[in-house]
Symmetry: C2
Subunit: 229 residues, 2 copies
């Protein structure tokens, strides 16, 4: 067999794992040996094996060699898009409605999440995203006011979500998904009965030094976060 294409090599390696020619936990041949077998350069084999290692299928250590992962901690990748694009990708019309904006001290729960000294006034934004006119997402955001110095944006027109990705680059981010029963506030906004199970996304983002924003997104029932492995 002669394979000189790294994606073909990746497929071949995956096939051998699936067929149990290489069992979980066992060491597979060295890059050099595989390069010889496939009739290609070592770099090409390396590219294929690195890709599988990043996906969690293989485990690699210098000198120790490459082995088939015993407990494949598969890396599933999620695509986190701007809300408007997510709705438009479903073929629906995006609507946006700012409910309230005010300056207030960030609550403990938010401050501690951001590693923030309690107290400073942050901008509190509450808004609703609609898909074809139907409530889709209730957004409760706390925003560091120091990031919007120059021309203070009009969040009634443009969602903070979009303004941020366009104007503020971040260094680190943090996302958590959970489930929660709809509060009275959330139930009213999304137009669902009190206590309905909602899919919650909480996102924190930091700049080089200071925190930028914390947002809690409550998705309308029926929402599914989807991925392939």
């Amino acid at each position: 067999m002669t394979l000189t294409n790294w994606e073909d090599i990746r497929a071949e390696v995956q096939a051998r794992i699936r067929l149990r020619l290489w069992a979980p936990g066992s060491v597979i041949p060295t890059e050099e040996a595989l390069a010889y077998e496939f009739g290609c350069a070592r770099a090409t084999v390396s590219r294929a094996l690195r890709d599988l290692a990043e996906a969690g299928v293989l485990e690699r250590r210098r000198k120790a060699g490459t082995r088939v992962a015993l407990h494949p901690v598969r890396k599933a990748t999620l695509d986190i898009a701007v809300t408007r694009l997510e709705i438009e990708a479903r073929g629906q019309v995006h609507g946006y409605h700012l409910i309230e904006t005010m300056l207030a001290p960030a609550p403990m729960a938010v401050a501690s999440r951001l590693g923030l000294a309690q107290g400073p006034d942050w901008l509190h934004l509450r808004s609703l995203h609609l898909a074809d006119g139907v409530p889709f997402l209730y957004e409760d955001r706390w925003l560091n006011p120091s990031v919007l110095l120059d021309p203070v944006p009009d969040f009634a027109e443009l969602s903070a979500n979009e303004w941020l990705v366009m104007h503020v680059s971040y260094a680190r981010g943090d996302i958590a998904f959970s489930a929660a029963n709809a509060s009275a506030d959330e139930a009213g906004m999304l137009g669902v009965p009190l206590g309905t199970a909602l899919f919650i996304t909480e996102r924190s983002t930091w700049g080089e030094a200071a925190p930028i924003t914390f947002v809690r997104l409550a998705h309308a029932p029926g929402y599914r976060l989807h991925t392939a492995v």
Copy 2:
């Protein structure tokens, strides 16, 4: 400046994006130009830019060049581990309890998800995972009986979850996350009030040709799926 390390180059590029030297949507210099500037080989720049493109920070097209992503569809990666390891990673003791196992025709909802003709008898397993003796996860699984030919495993001892990762390799998989109010069954199993919001994971896996399994995991309240970007 002289950078010959691809990770340093990646950091430098990210810094330039964060500092708005390269604005979202704009085309950045070619690999060749950057290689000249950093005093390294083109392949090294390419490695750094490819990595950022895979993360969703850059968009690259042949001839058109490399540009800073306008709407950064950030790729968040989730680590999907075996339940036992997930619990042990929290420093808790894993417990497992098989509730019921029976052969029955897969319900419509499951069959359609797996692209299956309605009707065939599949193995239905219901089980509970415990963390430090407390209900952690209720597992409702449908399993293609043809994958467990030879020595039929004893699922009372070993969870189907673990048996599968050890004995059956899969070609494709599919994961969806959502929220749901606890059914009477789920509420009883997890020991929570009826209607409690539960975090639901649904996973389908296929072999080369035939489907292998479909599982619905209902997590006890408090569960959070976590990732960094």
